[in-house]
Point group: C2
Chain length 343, copies 2
């Protein structure tokens, strides 16, 4: 096949073109990899579809039957309602609720467009969690929401970036201090890395459900599910804190949860970046180009420590893997950049 | 203040430390910047809170009054219902709906745990859109959802990364071809960059609302709001496609919307990355370290074109800004890395 014909090229052809062709002439080479990637993506989606269908479909069927039974029980109490009248009443109420026309009197301040609700809505917008327990109904608020998100989402990413960087730097400092004391940097890095992973897991995913089960009355698994769905910014909105009018919420609760969201998102983004680097690793080995601003460049693999030994747990502190989630830029004194596949 | 005391340092002190201190010793210097950033973040959130409160609060008040009127009209039709009985009925119905126990018979396949609904749920999970029109009710499905998202979110980022990269490469190729024909690379880059921005805006944000208003019956602004809230992965779930049982959806509709989501998210991530780079720019000028795998390193600002002239619209093709959203790694033949502030 002629180079530059636009058709997908074989891997060997790609490597040859990559060596010989000038910048940007290897577009066709990216295609087979992209098609394979899309195939893997669709397969993964199909797997999820099948499992969710299998797990949820019987439960939904049971719910539907239970609701029909409840409906007939209700009809016995209210003699002026017949079946179709009740159906249309229920449909009308749900539609009014979906359109935001029903504002129950006993919602908490989190569920109303007051200070707390508006603040919580702003947070859920720029973090892209988007619970949807509140959503703007007026055209003005919707248009403002778009502009607010357009600047707010990058601003939030800058903040998460900075927090993630500070966390990594903290871990790095600990590892260096301990490595200096023990005279064994590899062991210190391994220990500090594992401790950081474990304490993050405890602080952001395993302990908060205990708080939620105490304050919100959820089960531990419900709290864990809420924690993950929130920090990963999926935010279905089936569980939202502070929404139960029959419960008393302590004053410190919402502030603590806000801080948890901020730091937890930064932490989970680092974890997702780690998984991402593992997912992308089979495409080739990733050397790490470390260069100071003075121009002395060194190449080392992120899988190796400073001394060249295997480092299976974390990319080196100070050596930042290229990834879509969060990219940390080191301090001006030492500029480190990691990019590229072995050609 | 003694260096390394852990307290925030002055900017001048920071610059001095950055020049003198070894790697990682400038942790305290990051603190004043971080505090300023957090202050800006909170101010921005306060601004959003105020505007949303101002815009939505009167509308919510009107809705509440309208609902009370409707409720009294309803009471006249059903004589067996008194005020408190209707209140408790409404509350019971909404609670059952929120808990997923009400499954209306006339939902579309998108709103049920069948193939289409499960697939749509899987997509909304790994893209972190999380509309929440469907959410898992069984413990098994919730736990599976967590593991599914933990691998699926990075996988989705890899796919978006690749698509964004292909888009950038396409723009780059066009600019080079046109630049070669016109003998004016700067003008070609400017024109191709503007055209790419405009056509992306048309294809992903300005034209789709016309389709949605035709198929879903939404207004143009509602469709635009849905498009932005979806592609930015906020996903409140107040507008979801294919959910109106009274409308006929063409067969190609859902597939086309899926493709639109995939490519649109990749495109909007590039735009958000651009805004992010503008937000981060005031921290210092960002030189671009461009190095081939053969080791010849060049430094140039991303605000300058290849010829050194101002390039206000896009970072150079082939020169990738460091940012949290999507990081594109160029082809093996030329490895380009951009990182770091001027020290």
């Amino acid at each position: 096949m002629a180079p530059g014909s636009g058709l997908p090229a074989s891997p060997a052809e790609c490597r040859r073109r990559a060596r010989e062709a000038p910048e940007g002439r290897v577009w066709g080479c990216a295609m087979p990899g992209t098609l394979l990637l899309l195939f893997a993506y669709l397969t993964y989606l199909a797997l999820g579809t099948g499992v969710f269908w299998l797990l949820e479909s019987p439960a939904a069927h049971d719910s539907s039957e239970r609701f029909q039974r409840d409906k007939w029980a209700l009809l016995r109490n209210f003699t002026c309602l017949d079946g179709p009248a009740l159906d249309s009443l229920i449909r009308g109420i749900i539609q009014a609720y979906q359109n935001g026309h029903i504002v129950l009197d006993n919602t908490t301040s989190m569920g109303r467009w007051e200070f707390v609700g508006s603040f919580f809505f702003s947070v859920s917008t720029i973090t892209t969690i988007g619970y949807g327990n509140l959503s703007p109904r007026t055209m003005g608020a919707r248009l403002f929401c778009i502009f607010f998100a357009l600047v707010g989402i990058p601003l939030n990413l800058v903040v998460l970036n900075r927090l993630g960087h500070l966390m990594q730097q903290g871990v790095h400092s600990c590892a260096r201090m301990l490595g200096g004391t023990w005279k064994d940097p590899a062991k210190a890095r391994w220990l500090v890395g594992s401790s950081a992973l474990l304490s993050g897991l405890l602080l952001f995913l395993l302990l908060p459900p205990l708080l939620f089960s105490h304050v919100e009355g959820w089960s531990y698994v419900e709290g864990f599910y809420f924690s993950f769905i929130t920090l990963s910014t999926v935010g279905f909105g089936d569980y939202v804190i502070g929404m139960n009018p029959s419960r008393n919420y302590p004053l410190w609760y919402k502030n603590t949860v806000s801080l948890w969201i901020l730091f937890g998102m930064a932490w989970l983004a680092l974890i997702i970046k780690l998984i991402l680097s593992l997912l992308e690793a089979p495409r080739g080995s990733y050397p790490c180009y470390c260069h100071s601003s003075k121009g002395n460049f060194k190449t080392r693999s992120w899988r190796q420590g400073l001394d060249g030994e295997a480092e299976p747990h974390f990319p080196q502190p100070g050596c930042y893997l290229e990834g879509p989630v969060i990219m940390n830029c080191p301090e001006p004194s030492v500029q480190v950049s990691c990019c590229g596949k072995d050609s």
